[in-house]
């Protein structure tokens, strides 16, 4: 399969995603420049973390108008897989590809630490390699990661089982102290209706090797790989 990692001005984590996919998982990865158009042939597009356009105005607000984003919207509409991490999640929300918004952390501080996530749904291309209820240990590092959605949207998220990961403690329980940024309903990541676009605040790419403290992040990427394999096989079998 073929991965595309978009580089916006102010991106910081594009190299981490690239290295994790290429060196830890042996994937074919390319950087995509924000001023270019999106070419065909990609299986999954990643919007990495960082501070696109300095996060000036609002996080992700300006990046969504980059030329490449038109192609990403179209790609997603056709069922292509899109993964937004941290700032990428913010961009996907701003672009309307994901519901809700990410606002200032309740503590008003940037926060960098390891958190535990509980996988809530395993029937998506981003979580299919994990089990429902499985815990993942991943780092977060953001100032505006508090997930917000209006009550109507939240209800739809629940009904459609779009909340894919929640912040929990080491025993898998949600609690105020395990919720690092005040996110509504402990939400750490959501997918769209079609389950082909996923955004999360924690960084799977920085948890891809034992020496760095955790390799749980690989679960997310290997889910995508497994899902694409399945898709290919299905296509091949007709």
């Amino acid at each position: 399969m073929r991965w595309g990692v978009i580089v916006f001005p102010g991106c910081c984590d594009e190299q981490d995603v690239y290295d994790c996919l290429k060196h830890n998982l042996g994937q074919r990865v390319e950087f995509l420049w924000h001023k270019d158009r999106l070419n065909g042939g990609f299986d999954c597009i990643v919007l990495p973390g960082g501070f696109s356009y300095g996060d000036y105005l609002r996080c992700g607000a300006m990046a969504r108008f980059s030329p490449i984003m038109q192609g990403v919207v179209e790609f997603a509409r056709l069922g292509g897989l899109v993964l937004g991490i941290c700032n990428g999640f913010q961009i996907l929300c701003e672009a309307g590809l994901l519901p809700g918004a990410l606002v200032r952390n309740a503590s008003l501080q940037f926060i960098c630490r390891q958190v535990f996530l509980r996988v809530e749904e395993s029937d998506t291309p981003f979580t299919c390699a994990a089990k429902k209820g499985q815990l993942l240990r991943l780092p977060i590092k953001h100032g505006e990661g508090c997930y917000y959605a209006d009550p109507g949207t939240l209800e739809r998220l629940h009904k459609n089982r779009q909340v894919l990961v929640r912040y929990v403690d080491g025993k898998g329980r949600t609690s105020p102290s395990a919720n690092p940024n005040g996110s509504l309903d402990h939400i750490a990541g959501v997918c769209n209706d079609g389950r082909n676009v996923f955004g999360l605040m924690p960084h799977p790419e920085d948890a891809g090797e034992k020496i760095l403290g955790s390799e749980d992040g690989l679960k997310i990427f290997s889910s995508v790989i497994a899902a694409c394999d399945k898709r290919e096989k299905r296509a091949w079998l007709g």
Binding site: L57, R58, A61, M62, F65, C93, E94, G100, A101, V103, R104, N105, A106, S107, L108, C146, Y148, A149, D150, G182
Partner: protein, 79 residues
């Protein structure tokens, strides 16, 4: 033409900055402060033929970029 735009979090969206400011004001003795909401203020110079045209353009800019309708409201004043 000069336009002043005010962007604020919608009622109901938690505003931790506003809360922190309110708390500080209270601790300074301003007990009469009931609520603080913090927002953004933008000044835009426009070259347009009329107020109406300005209004149209500004509304468009706010809807597209300057405010996020999921969490924010806006209003503006044209000078």
């Amino acid at each position: 033409m000069r336009v002043k735009i005010f962007v604020c979090l919608k009622d109901g969206v938690l505003d931790p900055q506003g809360k922190a400011v309110a708390h500080s004001l209270h601790s300074l003795g301003y007990q009469e402060v009931q609520d603080v909401r913090m927002g953004k203020y933008l000044e835009i110079s426009l070259d347009v033929p009329s107020r109406q045209a300005a209004e149209l353009k500004i509304r468009e800019m706010c809807d597209k970029l300057l405010a996020n309708p999921v969490i924010e409201d806006y209003r503006f004043e044209i000078e």
